[in-house]
Symmetry: C2
Subunit: 247 residues, 2 copies
């Protein structure tokens, strides 16, 4: 079979990455009232993975995570949070790259540093869905958004990594007010509420939600948004504090 993936330099670790250590980021987006994650399809397979990469020997892990995200999304300023490090000894033994990939130089790959045991530092990123330009990496041929409730088969323990990232996101939603990073600059109250309901997984009451949000004094009310619908036009808001900030 023809080799389609360019692993030049990777197999020999020419970039001098820290061996046995990887970074994987769960990239969350919000679109049409659904919480989405950006995934990469492993080349010529039906198996998907998180956006991941490695840490250069002279590079901090946060900058490494941001570099990887920049490459996958085209975005410069991204809300990023480290949430857990995954290091079960068997974690890379299910749906291994070697199992999935079949591109001729298998033997070379099997013996390379890439096919060894990895400990992976998990980050999650919150992005404005509409601004992302999904871009595959050397190991993948496609990047696409998936509804969190309808995930495809995933490599390694990446499914578990997503589940745990969502847990962290839920826990931080109220305390750190991170939700705003999933929305565009301006948004309506119903949009914000839908975001909260989607992330948390249960419905909230309009009146009390609005009272709570306005009571925190973190929103600035802009003008009204006339959508053309035959009903009262909602106000547009923007988040007072500068979005982003973390890592």
């Amino acid at each position: 079979m023809e080799r389609k993936i360019d692993l030049n330099g990777f197999l020999e670790n020419k970039q001098n990455f820290i061996p046995h250590l990887s970074i994987d980021s769960v990239i969350f987006g919000f679109h049409q009232d659904q919480l989405k994650v950006l995934l990469l399809r492993v080349h010529d397979s039906g198996v998907w993975s998180l956006s991941g990469g490695f840490v250069r020997m002279d590079e901090g892990i946060d900058p490494a995570a941001l570099r990887i995200l920049r490459e996958r999304t085209g975005l410069e300023n991204i809300y990023l949070e480290q949430y857990h490090t995954f290091g079960h000894e068997e974690r890379s033994k299910n749906n291994t790259l070697a199992d999935i990939l079949d591109f001729g130089h298998t033997e070379e790959f099997r013996n390379s540093w890439l096919n060894k045991r990895f400990v992976s530092i998990g980050y999650y990123a919150l992005v404005d869905f509409s601004k992302v330009n999904p871009t595959p990496d050397s190991f993948s041929d496609k990047a696409a958004w998936f509804d969190l409730k309808d995930l495809p088969p995933m490599i390694f323990d990446h499914r578990e990594m997503i589940d745990k990232a969502l847990e962290s996101l839920r826990a931080n939603l109220d305390t750190k007010l991170v939700g705003f990073n999933l929305l565009p600059e301006t948004f309506t109250m119903p949009e914000l509420q839908s975001l909260y309901e989607t992330v948390l997984g249960y419905p909230l009451r309009r009146n009390n939600f609005q009272r709570k949000m306005l009571g925190m004094d973190i929103l600035e009310r802009i003008e009204k948004l006339y959508t053309g619908a035959a009903n009262k036009a909602p106000y547009l808001y923007k988040f007072k504090a500068p979005s982003i900030e973390a890592v």
Copy 2:
């Protein structure tokens, strides 16, 4: 100068540890109304470090952390929580082992894998102070408890690791009810309150604290504790749910 430290096998990584990756644990204890951490004194120096170690190639990170803790404390069942991974590229460049140690085989050490850049997975452990048997490791000549408010000079970024661990502990104190792991099997309400006040760093009201704790229905009231003091004897309680559990 005479070599006092036994680094046999370490310099050549005979145990086949994952390179560039370490584990460090902040071991919390509670004694005489003070929050303590167990530290190790780097051999022949005034610099102290957390309990740390490395991960074997065929070992999960949680078991590795538990193994290290077992060796330092003599305890078998320990409440352990992974809270953050530290990977700044310069983190091991302050107060390096090579800077501190001066035991003859310096050159050999400087070139060894031990003196390279490390990413460290941070755990914190909650233990019953009175049950711990502090034991130094190959790099240290002494193990001792320190009040969190009176820490000695520390190696690398270990001071920062402690600060961040305390943050996590505070955040988990109420939600996960982890505090009980710092107390003996049975305890009085004032003891429990003092623990909370010490961890959180601010005073609480007796009446409301008791109402809250009893209201959660997690405490079992045992008999009274007669201390010999000229006042009402407090009740003893024990935590209903089995302590420990995490990792």
